[in-house]
Every structure is written in C-alpha cells, then in structure tokens.
Amino acid sequence: MDPKTLRYSKTHEWASLSGDVVTVGISSFAADQLQDITFIKLPAAGDDVAADRSFGEIETVKAVSDLYSPVSGTVAEVNQPAADNPDLIKNAPFGDGWLVKVRVAPGSTLNHLQSYDDYQKQVASEAH
C-alpha cells in the first residue's frame, strides 16, 4: 500500500478502508523502533476490537508494547504469517506485514485518524 494514502493513529498504527473492511498495520517508523521481536499476539477472527483499545501486543527482548485498534469492529482476518514471522512486519510494514482486517459498521470513515502529512509531523517531533 502507498503510505501516503493511509490514515494514522497517534500510537503509530495505520488504517486503510476498503468497502466496510479496515486493514490495520503499524507504520514503518514504529517497525524501525522495534528491535528483536520475540512474540506477536493478535486477536482471533471473530473477536471484537474497539477504537483506541489494545487488540494485541508486540514483545521484544527489551519490552512489550500494546497494539491499539484505530477502529471499532469485528476481526475479519488475521495475518498469521506476519504473527509467525516478525520479519514481515519489519521489512514490509505497509505490505505483507499488515496485522488484521476489521469489519466496521457500514458508512464508517477514518476521518478521526491523521493524514499522512500530519503523521509525518508527529514522527518528526518524536524522532529525537
């Protein structure tokens, strides 16, 4: 996916709406911060997730970080290959390293999330 067309949360997840399914992943900035991933915990298909609530976690040797859902809905699909092989997330966070697809209520939008440009400003302020 083209990072410029995605919407972003303050907690470094990206979201992309297609029909009434939102694909969710973490940004390349977040992926670059995560060294030595040892475990990724994702929800199961059919689980409910809520906006701004934890839906999983990424564990590294040093620490564990929560993954926050940018939207509310029901998990339609989980990227099991990425959970099994964290390199996918490190190497292609906007592509094969997506995490979950969430079915949202019809008519939902991603307007509550940041644009690419606004997210870049957030990253610039956090990068040092």
Binding site: Q35, D36, T38, F39, K41, E57, E59, T60, V61, K62, A63, V64
Partner: protein, 359 residues
C-alpha cells in the same frame, strides 16, 4: 539536570547507537540489536562502555580498616592484586550496593554501581570515623571498558605491558597501554571470560577503536542485561535493594560473618535464623516474557513478584528471577506467573541459568 556523558558518548552517537538515559547517564542500549550483540559475547568478543560505573580509589594508613568496616566480604583476606565481590549494607543488613573491591600493594579501589555512586561516597565518608583514609572518586576522570567473550582475552594479546592472559580470574593488574597507566581486571558481568579496563578518559576513544580493530564488537546495555540475567547475576534496583539482605539474595558466600565487626553484621547474624523470601530463578512456558513486577503465583495465590525477566537468547526460552518464600524455592517447584492477565506455567531451576563451557 543534564545527564552525564561518558568519554565515548560522541563515538556511540556517530556509530548509530540507540542512546537511553540510565542512572543519570546517557548510555548506548544497543547498536545492531540485543540478540545479535548477546550472541557475539557468548561466541566471540563484545565491547561495553561501562564508564558510568563508579570508580573509587583509597589510600592512607587506614584504608583497609574503612573498607573492612563497610564491606560484607573479607578485605583482609585478599591477596595483592586480587578482586573480590561483596556488599555494602546498612545497619539493618539491607543492601546499599554490590561492589568489587581491588587490593593493591599501595592501596585499594572499589567499583560501585552508577545508580549508587553518590550514596556510597556519602556512606564511606559518614562511616570514616577517625580513620586516616584518602578517598578519590575517579569516575569522571577515567573511563571503564569491558571486553567479554571466549575470544576477549586472546584479542588483547600484546596490547598491554602486562599480558592479561596471565591474570587469574578475579585478579587485576596495574599496567600500561601505549605508555599510559591503566588497570586491567579479569572480571565481568556477562557470564563469560573477559577483561575490564580502566584508563584515563583521554585514552578512551583510542583504546576502544583498538579493541574494535582487533575484532571486538560494540554492545549496549540491553545485551549486558540479558547476559547477566542468563548468568543469574543480581542487578541493583532489581534483585538487590535496601529492603533485601544478602543472605536472602543468595549471596551468603560474599558475607563473612566470622571476619569480625562490620556495618550490618549484627542484623545479618540475626536474620540467618529467620525465614525471609529468597531469590529464585525459573523458566516460564510460552513466548511471552515475565517482566519486573509480574506476580508469581502458587496454586493461584500470590507468593512474590518478578525482579527481572526476559527472553534468554542463548537458552532460547523465557527466564525470570523473583523472591519467594523458601518453601517454593526448591528446584522443580511448579509456579505460575501472571503475564498481563494470563497465567503462564513456570518451573524453578538451578541458578545460574547459563554457565559457560569449561575451557
């Protein structure tokens, strides 16, 4: 207040280390990655900037008496050039710091934790009494570099006037690096063979680059932590604190009650009879790490808290340490750890988790 910087700070930043605040210092936590750096130390030679550690030197006719007074281990029983681990305790036997004491023919030295340097300097002054001792805190004028791993000592062949391969484990020698005075010590905090070198701060970058040219690879505090955890070495602020005593920490080997009076001795003598929680190590099932503060349970009942826990890169499993009542400390005891709401099975194992193969 601004964090302190070691003489290698600019080097670390220029070489893309990830810098973090640690005990009042800006320190490198990793360069290439913790797992990679950890493996380097287990299989080859890793290089650590540990200049944040406190370095105190002692002279004067009563230096030995002062050290003996504040140190749980025996200073008088040490040979010249020997290094000995021990604790500094308060009157209640609580641990103020864990330290290394060095005996020279002409004086003494002590290496203390960065987090406790000012506290220990203050403690030494407060306990000096009428003793004639000259104490100098050399921390900010010198640097300290550890080179650790099975190839560490051989990489240093020819580097110093005195050959470090002739040093016995836990011995040190004052020697020279390119005409400049330094101390080379066969000690470390990784569970591997290796050296720790103390030298003037003006030589820091030159000797660091020399180690790298000889094949050592820079490692950060992240790997230092996983390495010491596998070796089950306690870390102050985690396994050691003023509310814990050395006996429950499993460090009775570093407490010589028979040596005579020292600060904390009476309390430790009494606590020998008491049943306080003791330090244990356990492996944890599953892929998630127990972290500091995770509850340790037996049959659903809380019996302690994790003090350190992580994925062990060499052992490829989850390990952790905690304080639990002695009845749960037997090797093989089944426990559970609450990892963010989920219970994971754990088994008490013999410490250390990792021991280096005998040469």
């Amino acid at each position: 207040m601004e964090n302190l910087r070691t003489p290698l700070f600019d080097w670390h930043v220029a070489h893309k280390a990830k810098m973090v605040p640690f005990c009042g210092w800006d320190m490198p936590v990793q360069y290439t990655g913790i797992i990679d750096e950890h493996a380097t130390v287990r299989t080859s030679a890793g290089l650590f900037d540990i200049s944040h550690m406190g370095r105190l030197s002692f002279g004067g006719p009563n230096a030995q008496a002062l050290i003996e007074h504040v140190f749980t281990n025996s200073a008088g029983g040490m040979k010249d050039f020997q290094v000995r681990y021990g604790l500094v305790c308060n009157e209640s036997g609580g641990i103020l710091d864990d330290v290394l004491v060095y005996r020279w023919p002409y004086g003494w030295a002590m290496v203390v934790n960065a987090s406790n340097r000012e506290k220990i300097v203050h403690w030494l002054n407060a306990n000096r009494g009428g003793r004639n001792v000259e104490m100098i805190d050399q921390t900010l004028d010198t640097c300290m570099i550890a080179i650790q791993g099975p190839k560490a000592v051989s990489l240093c062949a020819g580097m110093f006037e005195a050959d470090p391969s002739q040093l016995k484990y836990y011995y040190a020698s004052p020697t020279r690096y390119k005409t400049k005075p330094c101390v080379v010590s066969r000690t470390g905090y990784t569970g591997e063979d290796g050296l720790e070198v103390m030298i003037g701060k003006a030589q820091a970058v030159e000797i660091w680059d020399d180690f790298i040219k000889r094949g050592a690879k820079p490692c950060g505090l992240g790997a230092r932590d996983t390495l010491r955890l596998e070796a089950a070495m306690p870390l102050y602020g985690h396994e050691l604190s003023e509310t814990l005593n050395p006996l429950q920490a499993g460090l009775s080997w570093a407490v010589k009650l028979e040596k005579g009076e020292f600060v904390g001795r009476a309390a430790l003598e009494k606590s020998k009879a008491k049943s306080a929680p003791v330090r244990v190590g356990f492996t944890v099932e599953g892929k998630r790490s127990a972290r500091e503060g995770s509850l340790v349970l037996s049959n659903g009942k809380e019996i302690g808290k994790v003090t350190s826990g992580a994925f062990a890169p060499t052992l490829q499993c989850q390990i952790a340490m905690a304080y639990v009542p002695a009845e749960f400390a037997l090797v093989g005891t089944k426990l559970q750890v609450d990892i963010r709401g989920d219970k994971a099975d754990a088994h008490v194992v013999k410490l250390p988790f990792y021991q280096r193969p005998k040469p």
